[in-house]
């Protein structure tokens, strides 16, 4: 082969997956491969800023009539209240409608994806998503599944069900969850399987929307938080990564009028930033603590007034660089955030909103790498107490320092790139 291998990275339309893939793409490029991105509408330019070529999906408008900007604004606003519900209550209120929306996306971009893959002619496709796009399997190209939400995506009798937020030993809870999930997700699952059949693919077993790759599966699950499995995953196809933490521009914390104490970073992701009332409540508590707080408020800067002297707001932070300087990271349990905290030896206070946030919050608590707290059901004293405890816990810090050293010794991005290129060479 004279030309460098072309790897098409296809992350879902979320920042976590998008920036994960940027980390892997850089390592692929450093090893001589050409990394290109297939991107959803709305993510135009995100990858080009990092120097990668973008190919843009053109959704079929007829597939999802009436779903413009207003529809999605309403979708987000409607679900704000649902983020306070338990994981099981979210099944019907949030998870099922979200699966329906994900399936809509799969259907609407199928033709466009098929055309792009024919144009790119990739040597491998890297899919960082929770669902299969039939065009990928139909292309016949080697493909890689990136499991970047939580390890719970790959089921096992010893691993709690995906999105349940349960502990592995909660047998009764598991039975309740499985019964509820099976009933609630059945309509979406049937619809998805019908689409697969129409595209010539075999249907998937109940509850599954994405098969494992026959070639390579990358699991972003650091050793410190991995589950023991009853059926170990074959090492030739399943590669566990110590996270996928990318390098970002250096962060020089702007000095605050009250510029003393440890640095605490808070980000609930771009979706979490919509709950400005909750973030304002938290900022009131921050004002009473002897620490410096840097808070990601996304596109909602205009909602904030009279910001306390020890708090700085931003609409975008180079997160890995900020976390590296933090004494505590308050986040929503996104796997990227959790991995970045572990990578830099920083305790997590996880306040989950939805989806894999519940699984990662439980895992942080169970593995002693952080604390799990309800995102809105707390008193100011309780929140203050948890933050103070996490900032003062030296044993936790020592434990996390050891985890950080292990993770840095085997950076996930490099391991991922090498595994992908081995697959290409073997293919």
């Amino acid at each position: 082969m004279n030309r460098p291998p072309v790897i098409a990275l296809f992350p879902e339309a979320s920042f976590g997956a998008a920036l994960n893939c940027v980390g892997i793409a850089r390592e692929l490029a450093a090893r001589g491969a050409e990394a290109v991105f297939i991107c959803h509408p709305g993510f135009t330019g995100v990858f080009a800023e990092y120097g990668f070529r973008e190919y843009h999906l053109q959704p079929e408008p007829a597939a999802v009539p009436g779903r413009g900007e207003t529809y999605w604004q309403n979708f987000v606003t409607t679900h704000l209240a649902h983020f306070d519900l338990s994981p099981q209550a979210q099944l019907e209120a949030y998870v099922a409608p979200t699966w329906e929306a994900i399936i809509d996306t799969v259907i609407s971009v199928e033709d466009s994806l098929e055309a792009l893959l024919a144009q790119i002619q990739p040597d491998a496709i890297l899919l960082d998503n929770v669902i299969m796009f039939p065009a990928i399997l139909r292309s016949g190209r080697p493909w890689v599944r990136v499991v970047s939400c939580a390890e719970t995506e790959i089921p096992d009798p010893c691993v709690p069900p995906y999105l349940s937020g349960l502990a592995p030993e909660d047998v009764a809870g598991r039975a309740r969850w499985e019964k509820a999930a099976s009933a609630t997700l059945k309509p979406a699952h049937n619809r998805y399987n019908a689409f697969r059949r129409a595209r010539g693919l075999r249907p998937l077993p109940a509850g599954e929307f994405l098969e494992c790759s026959e070639g390579l599966n990358l699991l972003l699950a650091p050793s410190a938080v991995r589950y023991p499995r009853m059926q170990p995953l074959p090492a030739d196809r399943f590669v566990f990564l110590e996270g996928c933490v990318r390098e970002e521009v250096p962060f020089d914390p702007p000095p605050l009028p009250a510029n003393e104490g440890p640095l605490v970073y808070m980000s609930f992701g771009s979706l979490g930033a919509i709950d400005t009332d909750q973030i304002k409540r938290m900022i009131e508590v921050f004002a009473t603590l002897p620490a410096r707080f840097y808070v990601n408020v996304g596109g909602f800067m205009d909602e904030y007034r009279q910001v306390p002297d020890n708090v700085s707001l931003g609409s975008w932070f180079p997160q890995p660089s900020v976390v590296a300087q933090s004494a505590l990271f308050i986040h929503h349990g996104g796997n990227n955030s959790f991995c970045e905290a572990l990578f830099h030896g920083v305790p997590s206070l996880v306040m989950p909103y939805c989806w894999d946030g519940h699984d990662n919050a439980r895992r942080a608590q169970d593995t002693g790498t952080g604390r799990h707290m309800h995102r809105s059901d707390w008193s100011p004293d309780a929140l203050r107490g948890v933050i103070e405890t996490l900032l003062e816990d030296r044993a936790l810090r020592d434990r996390l320092a050891a985890i950080s050293a292990d993770m840095k010794a085997e950076p996930g991005v490099a391991r991922a790139a090498e595994a992908v290129l081995s697959l290409v060479r073997a293919g």
């Binding site: 999605w72 329906e100 009279q306 700085s312």
Partner: protein
């Protein structure tokens, strides 16, 4: 009086920045002697303002003064000088800077009384009034009837940023196309050297502050070159507002690409190809204005907030 003092200080800061550019240009090293006379000649000024500029550079830890020997470089061209913001601090300047910083950080409300600000900064009403007058000349704040002062809207929301780019797309190419546009050759040459030095820095040294300073300096130079005084004044006021709100910077690839676009525009301007330069400015602003989604989540379509114009969707505030 306040205005004259401030103008003099600004001149000295500009001269200090010019000296920094000279140091970078000559690849001078830490410990090199900085003779007043030759530096004054290189900058085309007398020794008196050079002394004032040297004092500013000493306070910024760029120069050190040795008794009876004069000034020496504390940091050389290879020691991150290109990232350095030369700052000047006097009591009055400090208060004005603090008010500006607190306003940019949304610590103080849209409308403020002099007494409330005097209490916040534990200073006198006179000091506050002087600082507000400085800010009002920059268009950041204006006096309401009575003793209240109103701050201009901040340029930190998706909508404001989108409007800013739309505004600049209209006016910055026009600044170039208006007959009589002139480029200050010394300043352009200094900026060119600084931007090239910036491009050569390793990723770990590409700071948001370093990028924003060069970005601002470039766009201000374009505004000041316009022969239309209204275009010039409006753009300069807008760039001051941008500078106040700037916090973030794009990834290293885009930072270097943006500098390359600046250099391409400079090339065209120096060849007097103004139409080409104006087109390149449009390209540069459109690329800088690509906006990342404000809200993205599993299953939902990424949302872009703020007004959208065809082809001018906005991401950040630096360009």
């Amino acid at each position: 009086m306040v205005g004259r003092r401030r103008a003099a200080r600004n001149n000295h800061v500009a001269l200090a920045q010019q000296i920094v550019a000279l140091v970078i240009d000559r690849a001078m090293k830490a410990g090199d002697h900085m003779p007043e006379q030759s530096i004054a000649e290189a900058c085309g000024v007398s020794r008196t303002p050079i002394r004032a500029a040297f004092k500013i550079l000493e306070k910024n830890n760029i120069l050190i003064r040795k008794e009876e020997e004069g000034y020496f470089l504390a940091r050389g061209a290879q020691d991150g000088l290109v990232d350095t913001n030369v700052a000047v601090e006097t009591l009055e300047q400090e208060l004005f800077t603090r008010i500006l910083a607190d306003r940019a950080a949304r610590r103080i409300a849209d409308v403020q009384s002099v007494s409330a600000l005097a209490r916040r900064y534990t200073t006198t009403r006179v000091e506050v009034l002087n600082a507000l007058k400085i800010l009002s000349r920059d268009g950041v704040v204006s006096q309401l009837p009575g003793s209240a002062w109103a701050f201009q809207p901040l340029l930190d929301t998706p909508r404001a940023i989108a409007e800013s780019f739309a505004f600049r797309l209209t006016l910055e190419p026009q600044a170039i196309l208006t007959p009589g546009f002139t480029l200050d050759p010394t300043r352009a040459s200094t900026l060119r050297t600084q931007m090239r030095a910036f491009q050569d820095l390793p990723d770990a040294r590409l700071t948001a502050a370093g990028f924003q300073r060069l970005d601002n300096d470039f766009h201000i130079m374009i505004a000041e070159g316009s022969a239309n005084r209204f275009v010039q004044g409006t753009l300069l006021a807008h760039h001051r507002l941008r500078r106040m709100a700037q916090k973030e910077a794009p990834p290293p690839f885009r930072q270097r690409q943006a500098m390359e676009e600046h250099l391409d525009i400079l090339d065209s301007l120096e060849r007097n190809q103004l139409e080409l330069a104006a087109d390149q400015m449009v390209l540069h602003l459109r690329r800088s204005g690509i906006r990342r989604p404000e809200t993205a989540g599993r299953g939902m379509s990424p949302l872009l907030r703020g007004p959208q114009q065809a082809g001018a969707r906005i991401k950040g505030i630096a360009s």
